[in-house]
Every structure is written in structure tokens, then in C-alpha cells.
Symmetry: C2
Subunit: 188 residues, 2 copies
Amino acid sequence: MDEKLLIWREEVSRRVFECPVFSIRESRCRSPDNGQGTFTVIDAADWAIIIPVVDGPQGRRFVMVWQWRHGARELSLEFPGGVFEHGEDPAAAAARELREETGYTPGKIQKIGEFSPNPAIMSNRVHFFLAEDLVNTGKQELDEDEYVETVLIDEDEAVGGMGRPPYIHALMGSALALYWQARCRDAD
Amino acid sequence: MDEKLLIWREEVSRRVFECPVFSIRESRCRSPDNGQGTFTVIDAADWAIIIPVVDGPQGRRFVMVWQWRHGARELSLEFPGGVFEHGEDPAAAAARELREETGYTPGKIQKIGEFSPNPAIMSNRVHFFLAEDLVNTGKQELDEDEYVETVLIDEDEAVGGMGRPPYIHALMGSALALYWQARCRDAD
């Protein structure tokens, strides 16, 4: 692969829209063969998705959350997650988000990968964590406009259900791909 | 799970930004306990991601494409994909996108799942297809501002590489999750 034939260079960038969750930039770029193009980029905060695993007599189960999603206008069954606060250590942030959203605290939490949620139009990153040795404190700390219901879901059910309601969130599929990758690595 | 405790109702929605790839709406909603909230939603076209598999003497390999991504400002190694044209049959659209971007035509193409790319802030859908019995015509048909390089990647390399450069695109992880799900279903 010859990088020079693919890489664009940014010439000018200007903000054209702003809202509490993201802002939008127009980026004027120079193509590999010196043509010009203008692209629209969404800037938003990095965030974490946490795969919390309960491994007990009933087999491997995930702590997941039901919530309403305003983009899709649907109920969605997801792994917990949330936005990093400024300067926060990523693993500490992931543990905090897990505790606030579900009431579970992890004895062990490790990063298993990082993706761009959509590198074509978004500049931020989503960081994935595996959380184990969980303790249920029974105490959620939800934001004022956050309504979630925590459930335990069998691993097989989540794996088999992805890509159909209520497993509608693509990034939960990304999370499972990294989860299996980590499990295969551990098994080697 | 009691849906009534989670579902919001939309009251008013108005467009606040528009660009060639997407538009943005402010959606004022009523919460499950009758509070109010305003959410920002990105509307964009549905699109397809295609997992093209070459199964031959060198084992199972994917047809993948290198391309520059303007959001992440990075080179990304991805499955091919593209936006549906108005009224187009999804499987036909996926086969067309595969052919245009890589020059490969599929003898067999089947849908293996559908996700919201990010149901929190996006209203569109991404449809995933498995393409097999591929023939390489050697003829790409790229858009004017599209620079891609097609390569064959071993299944194990893609699976093991996800979540680290150059496998930075989260939806390629989602694609692999659905690919494994389909393979497990076929094996049953």
C-alpha cells in the first residue's frame, strides 16, 4: 500500500455548528493528486464502553442496560458506557461509569481496544474495557435525564442476538468482537 | 423490563443544520415521568457494509480496502461499503458497492444483520452483508474524490487486529461480530 496515493492534507478547518454533545467542522483538504475537497467532521468527546462479565454458577453473563435512544427512537439493550471527564484516567473513568450506571464495581478492569466510532465523519474515539470480579453495590447514580434498567444477560443470548432488536447498537457488536479477541488471546 | 419507565415521546422536531452527508435536528421530548429534554439527532442515509470472503488454497481471506478517513485523519483498513441509492434493493446495492469499490462481484450475497451506527445520536441504519463466490473483474468504478486500494487480508489477521491501527473503524468490528454469528449459525 503506497500511502502517498491515499493521504489527504487538511488546508483550512472552521466550526459551523455547536450543540452540547458535539460540534461540526468543515475541513477543506487537498487530495493525493492535488485536487480539492471539503468534508464535514463531527467533533465529540471520547467515551468508554464497558463489558462487565459475571462468571458464576449460571455461566458467563453480561451486565447490560436497557435505555431509550433518541437517535433511533427505540429501546436498546447495551453494555454500559459514558463520556470521559476532562483529564480523567480512562480505566478509572470506565469503572466510574459502570458504577454510576449499573451499581456494579469491578475488582479488575482492563482496556481491550479502541476504535473510531466512524472515522469517515467523526474525530473522537471509543475505548473498550473488560470489567471482571464485579460487586453489586445496588446503588446507581444516574444523571437527571438518564433512565436505565440494569439486567444480567447470558453471553450466548447477547452474542446470538446482535444485529437485531433489542441489540440495535453497532458499537455493542464492536465490543463483542474485542471481547472474543481478548478471550482468544488469553486462551493462547 | 417495564417499557413505560424508559420510553420518551417526541413533541417537536426542527432541522438546525444541513450538509451533503447528513443533516441535524433538535428533538424536544417528554421523559417517562413527564419531564422535558431536548436532544440533537443526526439524520443520514442508510448504507451497507459488505464482508467479501475469498475461500481458497490460502485459507479464508477478506477483500478489504485501504482509505483515508477525514474524520479520524488516518488511514483505515476496512470492509467495502457505501450508501444506498433511493429505492434500491439492499442486496443489489451492496453488490453494486462491492463491485464499484473493489472490482469483485459476488456469486452469492446475503444480509446477516442490521445496526444503528449510534442510536444515541443517529437515526440511520447500517446493513451488513456476507458476499461469497467472488469473481475479480479487475475493474473498479470509484467516485471522483474516492481513493482506495484493495487488498486480500487473512481472516485471522483482521480478527486479531481489530481495535488497533489500521483496523480503527468500529463498524468493522460490528461486521466481524455478525460474521462470526452467521458462521456459528451455519455450523449448528
